[in-house]
């Protein structure tokens, strides 16, 4: 099975051939370089990683909230040709894997030779996502009540999840401590050299009950980029090429904006991250089952998204996430290590594109917390926003 269609010709199969990032800093840490400058730097780094000249890039994709338009990025790269440009709808991270899907579709169908998916984000230079911002659609139904931040919105979903499944705040602490421990191996992580104990976790201030400070992701300045081309072109680059085995976007019925809207998604879907449909799609595309996944990067804008994500993606049964977390299976050396670079929680908050990069590194075998013998590397995108997306990557071929 192959993306985008079964029996797609081998030479047209999309592969990730380059990943790149800038230094990641806490919010406000990049004072000397603009967000656009960081965006271009990340793309140059990804091009270097792929062994190509960045001016060869002719496809440009991103996802909601990106501020830098393809024609501007093209100009700053001095790239002579823009042949493909597209943006996935949605705010925040839901469209992140979708942007890689667009890049993959573009190269697989010959609309682009090298397509870059990019995200630049400097919350220190622009607005903070945790603060109230005007929402055009249905703000009337949430803002007057003080429901104004993603933390509050997802806390509502997670409270219900605890009620339905028996998960407790202890499981959130387990996750927070684990993510921070993973980041200690990663020199790029903003939270390297800042380990977290359970005592510190429970002593931290409450933000949106049951979420403490250390349930919330970082606010990061930085940029990252991923370059996609076809297997036929990748074969000539003489670098590891990570095949995209599945790439999908999906949303369940009547979800609308879910917890970012008015919380009227179907009752039996409420305590989820609206990823059951996208999970079905990636397993069908790849012919794989959840038990085939060796390592996963689960979108973790809040720790509580992880238990809901594990269930939506079939990595455990409904109601089984708490036991899976408590078993230690998700930690280094466990059956299914997750967020091995520290995730959005402890590496950087780039709306999930840094999770894609870590999934690529796991598939190449060069992660700072490498899982042995990775065959299938899953990355998921989005927690609270409208539709969701995900990728399954295969082992790199050289």
């Amino acid at each position: 099975m192959t993306f985008p269609m079964p029996n797609w010709p081998r030479e047209l199969q999309p592969c990730i051939v380059g990943v790149g990032e800038t230094a990641y800093t806490k919010r406000g840490g990049h004072q000397d370089k603009s967000e656009l400058a960081l965006c271009i730097e990340a793309i140059h780094n990804a091009a270097d990683d792929a062994g190509i000249d960045a001016r060869e890039i002719d496809g440009f994709t991103s996802f909601g909230f990106e501020r830098h338009e393809p024609a501007v990025v093209q100009t700053a790269l001095a790239a002579p040709s823009l042949r493909y440009a597209s943006l996935v709808w949605g705010g925040g991270g839901g469209g992140c894997s979708g942007s890689v899907m667009l890049a993959a579709s573009a190269v697989a169908t010959g609309q682009s030779r090298y397509a870059v998916a990019y995200r630049s984000l400097c919350q220190g230079q622009y607005e903070r996502y945790g603060q109230h911002r005007e929402r055009l659609l249905w703000g009337s139904y949430v803002a007057p009540y003080g429901l104004m931040s993603p933390g509050l919105m997802m806390a509502l979903a997670y409270r219900r999840f605890m009620h339905e499944t028996g998960a407790t705040p202890e499981h959130l602490a387990d996750i927070a401590v684990m993510l921070r421990a993973n980041a200690q191996h990663n020199p790029r992580a903003v939270m390297r050299d800042k380990p977290l104990t359970r005592e510190q976790y429970f002593a931290s201030r409450m933000i949106a009950d049951p979420f403490h400070l250390y349930d919330c992701c970082l606010e990061t300045d930085g940029a990252c980029a991923v370059i996609v081309t076809t297997r036929g072109i990748a074969d000539r680059l003489n670098r590891p090429a990570v095949p995209i085995l599945a790439a999908a976007q999906a949303s369940g019925p009547r979800w609308s904006l879910g917890p970012m809207g008015s919380h009227n998604m179907p009752l039996d879907d409420y305590a989820s991250i609206n990823s059951r449909e996208v999970a079905k799609a990636i397993y069908a595309q790849s012919g794989l089952a959840p038990s085939d996944i060796d390592v996963a990067q689960i979108y973790d804008a809040f720790t509580g998204l992880i238990p809901m994500g594990l269930e939506d993606y079939g990595l455990c049964e409904r109601g089984g996430a708490a036991a899976l977390i408590a078993s230690g299976a998700l930690r280094q050396g466990g059956r299914l290590p997750i967020n091995t670079a520290g995730g959005l929680h402890s590496e950087a908050y780039l709306h999930g594109l840094n999770l894609v990069i870590e999934a690529v590194r796991q598939a190449r075998g060069d992660s700072t917390l490498q899982v042995p013998n990775v065959r299938h590397s899953l990355v998921t995108s989005g927690g609270g926003t409208g539709h969701k997306s995900a990728l399954i990557l295969g082992r790199a071929e050289h």
Partner: protein, 150 residues
């Protein structure tokens, strides 16, 4: 005196939902109802989310419901919340409108007394610009008949 400070944002009625807000000004709770498939839905859309019909009407509901989920905000997400004590945000599942839920505040329950399933009854309070918005109060067995004007 309202549950949250007066500089909080107020509703901005649109062509799709003006009658909802108008009814609130009359201290009535009305919910969009699809006559084609006989279901309530919320928030108001031009089409039914189950069958896409435009045969829609508004139906007044009792305003009774239960807390479906809740959180307590401890962080000033809006300038007017600076220094404000922690406040709840609740999702209330209405008793008589299929699976319709309203995001709201329950105005008379302390954070530690909130629980899923707690019975509540609508009340109307002014938001920042004076527009009445639906909030909820705890509903005891003896007060359930008192109605929304309590």
């Amino acid at each position: 005196m309202s549950y949250l400070p007066e500089n909080m944002p107020s509703p901005r009625p649109t062509l799709d939902d003006a009658p909802y807000w108008q009814a609130c000004q009359e201290r009535r709770l009305v919910i969009r109802y699809c006559e084609q498939c006989a279901h309530f839905f919320h928030p108001p859309l031009p089409n039914c989310p189950r069958c896409s019909s435009t045969q829609l009407t508004w139906k007044q509901v009792s305003g009774r419901g239960t807390i479906y989920t809740y959180t307590v905000g401890h962080y000033a997400v809006h300038p007017s919340l600076k220094g404000h004590p922690p406040y709840n945000v609740c999702v209330v599942l209405l008793d008589d409108a299929d699976d319709v839920r309203l995001v709201t505040n329950v105005v008379d329950v302390a954070p530690e007394a909130l629980e899923i399933g707690l019975p509540v009854q609508v009340c109307f309070e002014p938001s920042g610009d004076g527009t009445l918005i639906p909030r909820f109060r705890r509903r005891g067995l003896d007060t359930s008949a008192r109605g929304e004007r309590s």
